[in-house]
Symmetry: C2
Subunit: 336 residues, 2 copies
């Protein structure tokens, strides 16, 4: 049975495009609170689990040893937009561990933030691995390797101690065994393991509450969530979904996007973890799904609801700035 | 009943994302040769019908009066990438009609061709309407208005003589009545009318063969197809799907992409018209659908088949250039 249509793109009087997907919301005991579509199908979480990967940065002792600030911890959990402030923070992180940008093995791409990409070009420079949206996570891997006393070269290989620690951490939080046949290569050349949405949601319920985790891991999760809430611009960038939601709603929401329409998050006060996959991989629809689920489950005042409506039901504009359509959640998704 | 899955994105051992859609292939008599999914559902064709919109440029007398070359006719049918050569051609087109770039009402965006966007930024310039991928079509509208003796201001309004002529032309080719409730605004601020895929495919069977069209319209269609086959770079740009396919396969294929996963085309030697919609609006999957349909229906030699395989089954790379996955047609689509 196909997953249900959760988001529609409307133009004029008609639905122009349709996005199917699945949504899992569970508590830290694994009890399902909301399940739309197939929540047992394994999904590569991609960048949506960067905060879980960053637990290794905390537990390796690197965060304490190098004295990382909120901004540095937040960017380790980030898909940043490559704005100048992001580059400064990643550079500082690497320097604390005695490393330079050439240690990054994520590959180069131009900053996602278009004005920053254009400014970089105007300056005569070109795209480098540090501009890769994953460079903060990779800086975290590098610092973890240093703290573990492991060689930092090849830190992205599945057999490297850092990735083994990441794998063990994900296994602990999700309760899944992450065998080799579930492993693929993410676009920044590190492993990504396919995990059912329900288990990803459980991992984030644990990450968001600390329940069911060993005490040091619960403390590390709390520290990372506090860092992201304090420095949300470092988790994404100017105008980006995760940044804007965490800036406005603070520690009440943790939200993180990944490639191919995956988002994970937590509502710590409700004790809930969230995992979302848009079947077709569209980030625009995954964001609507996450915004709609947050609007459905988090108590909001009128102003907060208005704020979130921009993401639940974003207006589509033509190149002259006129409204020509919108994305909107279906009733099944919004619970209307 | 949902449309079938036609394209899968594979990473590692698993399918990561799935694209549903519909495909219509008909001959000029309207006989269906291939129908996958719901081919009766109205779809906004967006830029996929630019060549049909350009018939007005021919029939208004503008093309002859201003002595348009293949390149100029091709760019009137284009979603160009904003490369310097594209800008030169649009500028020349406008100049022939005594107009300047400030007459364009399509709104600005940065060139789709990233190196051109970066070079533009390096030069200290900024994005203007002429860089909009639709500026060639808009130059065509402007020249048509001039040839018709109509004011060129507001040429994108549904009531303007140019858009009325476009509407009548589309009604003739598709056999559909395009009432106001089917009309929406395209991202370049001109009308787009929702039309069932089967009727779009019929329009392109007629465009590709001239059959069923008044003689001047058939002649205009032939001239536009010849122009696109002779100057395919002007229909898209460096490395782009429609350009590459028409460059390699020449006049045997006409192919044109539109926003939100729509593609239309023709196989003139087979007498067939094609119309494709990816349900979720993904261009990456719409391209695979078109490439797979061309591979299925057009006789190809081994080298041509190898060439087309790059688009039927494109490899996905990480930022270090390593292969990490692929897009592939399902058996239903490939007919395997």
């Amino acid at each position: 049975m196909p997953n249900p249509v959760l988001v529609e793109a409307v133009r004029g009087a008609l639905t122009e495009s349709r996005h199917r997907g699945a949504v899992a919301v569970v508590d830290a005991a694994g009890t399902s609170v909301l399940a739309l579509g197939d929540v047992e199908r394994p999904v590569y979480p991609r960048s949506a689990v960067k905060a879980l990967q960053a637990l290794v940065l905390m537990e390796s002792g690197a965060a304490d040893r190098f004295g990382f600030t909120d901004e540095e911890l937040a960017i380790a959990c980030a898909s940043h937009a490559g704005e100048p402030g992001h580059i400064t923070t990643v550079t500082r992180m690497l320097r604390r561990a005695g490393l330079a940008a050439d240690a990054l093995e994520c590959g180069p791409h131009w900053p996602l933030h278009q004005p920053s990409a254009l400014a970089l070009a105007r300056s005569g420079a070109t795209a480098a691995p540090i501009h890769n949206n994953c460079s903060g996570k990779h800086a975290g891997f590098l610092c973890s390797a240093c703290a573990m006393g492991a060689t930092h070269q090849g830190y992205g290989a599945p057999s490297h101690p850092v990735q083994r620690a990441v794998q063990a951490t994900l296994e602990n939080l999700t309760g899944c065994r992450l065998d080799e046949d579930r492993r693929a290569v993410d676009n920044c050349s590190v492993p990504t393991w396919a995990i059912p949405l329900n288990d990803l949601a459980l991992a984030f319920a644990r990450f968001g509450t600390g329940k069911g985790l060993p005490a040091p891991r619960a403390k590390a999760a709390l520290r990372l969530r506090a860092a992201c809430a304090a420095a949300p611009w470092h988790v994404g960038g100017t105008g980006r979904f995760c940044t804007e939601v965490m800036r406005r709603l603070g520690a009440r929401v943790f939200a993180k996007s990944g490639a191919e329409g995956v988002l994970c998050g937590a509502l710590p006060e409700q004790g809930l973890g969230l995992a979302i996959k848009c079947d077709d991989g569209a980030g625009r629809a995954g964001q609507v799904m996450m915004a709609a689920v947050v609007a459905r489950l988090l108590p909001l005042d009128a102003e907060e609801r208005d704020f979130l409506a921009r993401f639940v039901r974003p207006t589509l504009h033509d190149w002259n700035g006129a409204a020509v359509g919108e994305l909107k959640p279906t009733e099944l998704l919004s619970g209307a």
